[in-house]
Symmetry: C2
Subunit: 381 residues, 2 copies
């Protein structure tokens, strides 16, 4: 194998486009400088369409996990009841964040690989009439399931006064998020997935109702206190030294995303998903999630005739293609492919052909060429 | 003025060395990958000497402010009494962080431009025998004062069981920090000052007593919960997606710092300070802090014959040299020069000569050449 050549096909962090890499190296600027005002006031309006909101968008220095924490501590009080719809490892993490922050978190566990059934949410809201917020994951990175956020949002609005908070870490930028149209109150994401930027930026959007809540919440917070960011935004700045180079990167990534055009970006992600799923089906290798709920950004694969680890090791050793292991309780049962951000149909053809060679080595009954052919047919359209 | 040429001489963020800039663009790696293990396990042992500790060092994605918050929420409980020795804007911020996190924070205000008097601390500890922690700022970025942390630490240890927490954001890497030898329990810093790295990494060190506290604190926290980072460190990883590119940068910056050698790094910072102070004294322009307590990384200047703003605008317009304004209640009384990180005696000669030309324009009585000559004499040694 060619040394120092790797194809990172994990569901985040994702590869960085060359121009975004170069943007990171723009000369340092002071965070109280005019250039910072221009940077911030250029970023925010280009982020809003990705969230589908006319509300407020905040960028903090921190991981995606910090974005989730920021959403919850700004719109709920300590000891508030929060209903978590848990469909995988990241739903669990959000639940643990709420617990860690002293919320009365209630977890409703859905089988990993399945999506949330909106009818369940109706029932849960009746059972827990006191919930202050409902929390769901849009694209569950650990299972490759896309939850029906629009449907859940409608039910939450119809049957309660609870705010609806969504983890869009592995969905935002890869698939439509329509906060205002759907009735989602708060959305949290990170820079390192479909936004094709380096990790280290936590991005949070609040709709109108969540902004009102933000100003009345008494729960302890400082670094994540969005009232401070709101005040600074009025002057196009941030309250604390931002991760300047990562903002430079995000600025350039948004340039790329909006030049391609959001409908094209989303269509590309759907094609990458469909090519991937078509290939694996043609090879007879089972997928974890059903077609109807398959995430456009990550696919989880559950092979039966070889172990996920053997496949991952084989594609890495022979081709430098890096897939991700499973997480949590299904860690050893699946492997995952990230197809989001700076990735194209050409990259998908590459990793699928590599996957197929590796699978053939592990399982002689694989019909070589069947998978890639199915993917090419999807590409042909 | 040459377009697009700026010399950032503010007290952070500071300029990034070219090799550190390039390091940011290393190809992305997964955070559960072997390369991440190697990166993390290479970073931590090279950070420890900068903190002067054999204790634990943690790197989080976030601003310096997050580092301060992380220190306080991991070693004190909600409603614990915390004594803040406030010598400027960053002492105030640490106090507001403790309040924001529900601590019973007590502020002892020292006049801006003065250092903490260790004898005061003795008296304060008698007045507040229940304090769980004492908090001080090492180099107060808003005033250019270096507080006598070693002396304060000795008094805190002698007269109480309180833990001693220090903000070393603008000192660490520019002047010795000796946690273990001095008896400091927790130190917080950021990547963007004397560590000559991009902003966006919060770095926290805990000594033995603070590590014990960490495991018994029940206060709400999740993203900043160092128990999670401790658990991950055992496997040379981190609990949440790290700011990978910033870790690449820090890795290279530590390479530069340790190649130069810590004693040389610290001597360089002292020389930059002494050159700066000698020049301003020779020009008859008053300094905010006295020699005995002057920070090696930042100098605050309080001109009387022209406004700080006029001087800052003049050096920027004519030479592209960027100095910082004041902060908080002395915002309009001073300007500040950052001389830390990727900065040398040559840079100091440059900004001092530029400053002198600008000052001469504003005040004809300036004896042109007197300042730079004094600085050159310091350089001569």
């Amino acid at each position: 194998m060619l040394k120092d050549q790797f194809f990172l096909r994990i569901p985040g962090p994702t590869p960085i486009p060359p121009s975004v890499e170069r943007a990171m190296s723009r000369p340092m600027i002071g965070h109280r400088d005019q250039s910072m005002d221009e940077l911030i006031s250029g970023l925010i309006p280009r982020l809003k369409p990705l969230f589908g909101t006319r509300g407020a968008v905040y960028v903090l220095a921190g991981s995606g996990t910090l974005a989730l924490e920021t959403a919850i501590v700004n719109v709920t009080n300590a000891e508030d009841a929060v209903l978590h719809l848990v469909t995988g490892a990241f739903g669990e993490r959000f639940y643990r964040i709420a617990l860690g922050q002293g919320r009365r978190a209630i977890a409703h566990h859905i089988e990993w690989g399945q999506a949330i059934d909106p009818d369940d949410v109706r029932r849960l809201l009746r059972e827990h009439p006191d919930v202050r917020a409902v929390v769901a994951t849009h694209s569950e990175t650990s299972t490759g399931v896309l939850n029906p956020i629009a449907d859940i949002a409608r039910i939450v609005r119809e049957h309660s006064d609870a705010l609806f908070i969504v983890d869009a870490v592995s969905s935002l930028g890869g698939t439509p998020v329509e906060m205002d149209a759907w009735g989602v109150d708060a959305v949290a994401t990170g820079s390192q997935k479909a936004l094709m930027s380096p990790p280290g930026l936590a991005i949070v959007a609040l709709g109108e109702r969540a902004q009102k809540a933000r100003d009345h919440i008494a729960a302890p917070r400082f670094y994540t206190d969005l009232r401070q960011y709101e005040k600074s935004l009025a002057e196009s700045t941030v309250p604390f030294t931002p991760a300047v180079n990562l903002l430079f990167a995000l600025d350039q990534a948004l340039e790329l995303i909006h030049s391609e055009g959001l409908p094209n970006v989303f269509a590309r992600h759907l094609r990458m998903r469909d090519m991937t799923r078509a290939a694996l089906k043609a090879l007879g290798i089972p997928l974890l999630a059903d077609d109807e709920v398959a995430s456009p950004t990550v696919t989880a694969i559950k092979p039966t005739r070889f172990t996920p680890k053997a496949l991952r090791e084989a594609v890495r050793r022979e081709f430098g293609v890096v897939f991700a292991a499973g997480q949590g309780k299904i860690a050893n049962d699946i492997f995952r492919i990230g197809h989001m951000g700076y990735m194209s149909e050409a990259d998908v053809l590459q990793y699928l052909a590599a996957l197929e060679v590796a699978a053939k080595r592990l399982d002689p009954e694989i019909s070589l060429g069947a998978g890639i052919r199915a993917a090419m047919e999807v590409a042909l359209g």
